[in-house]
């Protein structure tokens, strides 16, 4: 799947490299947050409130004198965690239902497909909002709400891959040599669905961060005083006309991270799936 030549090619594309760099920086920030931060993220210093960006506070401070730079550094942990959780849950449900649907066909397939139709008929933001509101505003509920809107895409993707592979000779051979249904799916079919799944998942981590940040922005995600990028933007909105730095920096980082995952996903697609290269 990935020989050295195509690996080199991946790094020859400047956009993929930028994407990879952004995501590495995010992971580093999440791991080394205590080292990188200049202040404790929740340290309140009322005397310093709403201070402009300066060498003491790189990105300024908020209405309680908390250091925005340090809060953003710690916020990278939440963003990364949220993105991975949403996509992880969505993939787990999607792969299972998609595999069952594609492999068994018939009425099971029909039922699962109609259920995905129903979920896909909801605009995802509206559905996520309704679920998050029903569960009560908190970060973990925002994650659950986002995952619920996401899994049908993976179900469809895995199903279509399995439909294409179900009749392949190597699958028939595997079945003939006495493997169970699930053995065949897990050992022989799923590994062949990996490339498109990895590409989609990479991009989706970014979009999941964007969606949950949106939920936090309208008050349905992380709650104060959590150092979360979306809820920082939400509080910062009150001060946007007088203190530009408050909303500018948290938003900039959401944007960069989503862009990073997009660029990386794009690069991976060229890398893993040469067929799609020039059409996308």
């Amino acid at each position: 799947m990935a020989d050295i030549k195509s690996f080199v090619k991946f790094f020859k594309n400047p956009l993929s490299v930028i994407g990879a760099l952004i995501i590495s920086a995010l992971v580093m920030a999440a791991i080394f947050a205590p080292v990188l931060a200049t202040h404790p993220p929740n340290e309140i210093v009322m005397a310093d409130k709403l201070a402009q960006p300066s060498p003491a506070h790189y990105f300024g401070t908020d209405e309680m004198g908390r250091d925005i730079y340090s809060r953003i550094v710690y916020g990278s942990r939440i963003s990364l965690q949220v993105g991975m959780q949403v996509v992880g849950i969505a993939i787990s449900i999607g792969v299972f239902t998609g595999a069952v649907s594609g492999y068994y066909g018939g009425w099971i397939d029909e039922i699962i497909m109609r259920i995905t139709d129903m979920f896909l008929a909801f605009p995802s933001m509206i559905l996520a909002m309704a679920i998050a509101a029903a569960l009560g505003p908190s970060l973990s509920n925002a994650v659950i709400a986002s995952s619920i809107t996401w899994w049908p895409w993976y179900t469809r993707m895995v199903r279509s891959q399995i439909l294409a592979l179900r009749e392949a000779e190597f699958v028939e051979a595997a079945r003939a040599s006495g493997n169970t249904m699930f053995g065949v799916i897990i050992k022989y079919i799923l590994p062949n669905c990996l490339s498109p799944l990895i590409v989609q998942a990479t991009m989706d981590v970014g979009f999941a961060i964007q969606l949950t940040a949106g939920l936090s922005f309208i008050g349905l995600g992380a709650q104060p005083p959590t150092a979360d990028w979306g809820s920082m933007l939400s509080t910062g909105r009150k001060y946007m006309l007088t203190h530009w730095w408050y909303v500018t920096f948290p938003g900039l980082f959401i944007f960069l991270v989503v862009l990073g995952f997009n660029l990386l996903g794009d690069g991976l697609r060229d890398h893993l799936d040469p067929k799609l290269k020039n059409t996308a």
Partner: protein, 335 residues
Amino acid sequence: MVAYTARRLMLAIVVLIGMSLMTFYISHAIPGDPARLASGAHAKAEQVESLRVQMGLDKPLPVQYMIYMKGIISGDLGTSVSTRRPVADELKEYLPATIELSVFALIISVVAGVFFGIVSAVRRNSALDHFLRVFSLVGASIPVFWLGLLFLIFFYKQLNVLPIGGRIGIGINPPTKATGLYIIDSILSGDGIALKSSISHLVLPSITLGYSSMGVFTRMARSCVLEVLSADYIRTARAKGLKETIVVYKHALRNAILPLITLVGLQFAYLLGGTVLTETIFSWPGLGSYSVTAITNLNFPAIMGVTLTITTLFVVINLITDLCYAIADPRIVYK
């Protein structure tokens, strides 16, 4: 074709019923007591109880759902818990604003997106192509709520050329109502002041929203045009000595436009749902802002109403798109 339409219609109805069940369940799982909320903080227990009976909240859930469905069929979406007005009336007030915003956002994203896509394809692998690719990726990655805030900081605070929010300037009368879309209404009634004001209020929200879905059109247009440009009949057209612009716009674009129809339908539906955050930022009085208020007030008749309205539109638009596609391309036969 008739059989296909009938099948799609049946499917749409099944999906809508399923959705109504789901929204009903979701909105009834909301913690908090709407009867207590509606009767106010100082109400006595008996008052809350009588309101609960009045609102039908004491009946079992399936019964409540049947009552609700009966209402929907006769056009009654229940009463808003916070304003005590019929939800259907409130939705009628808020819906045109959302439609106006999403239609303009759609126009912006289609026109800009398709144009950039063609340019990208024609100048494939040039610096311009790479720039446009990044530009559309930025659009897909930028959170609309952040872009909206940046626009406000820049165009309202720094330059002071565009308004901070709302649909029309304070002190300016909305145009005489015909469609509910301010721009069309003010043109119809020849109201220049209202027209100018409503356009200036629409610019930032529709660009904010439109930019987010522009990239999809750029990608699609680029790949379609690239595919068509390598076709034999294009080579023939070039060999005949036609000008490149005629080859691209008359020969290539015509054939590349077909897949775009589906995308326009899908994106319009997406924009309708995606207005929530944009409307919140720009205090745009549409369904998005309405639903955010409804959720904070645990106003579930209103939540149900919004969700049903938007999803019904979503389903109907998708249905129309599929049928349009069949009409536009005679090669497609649906069974």
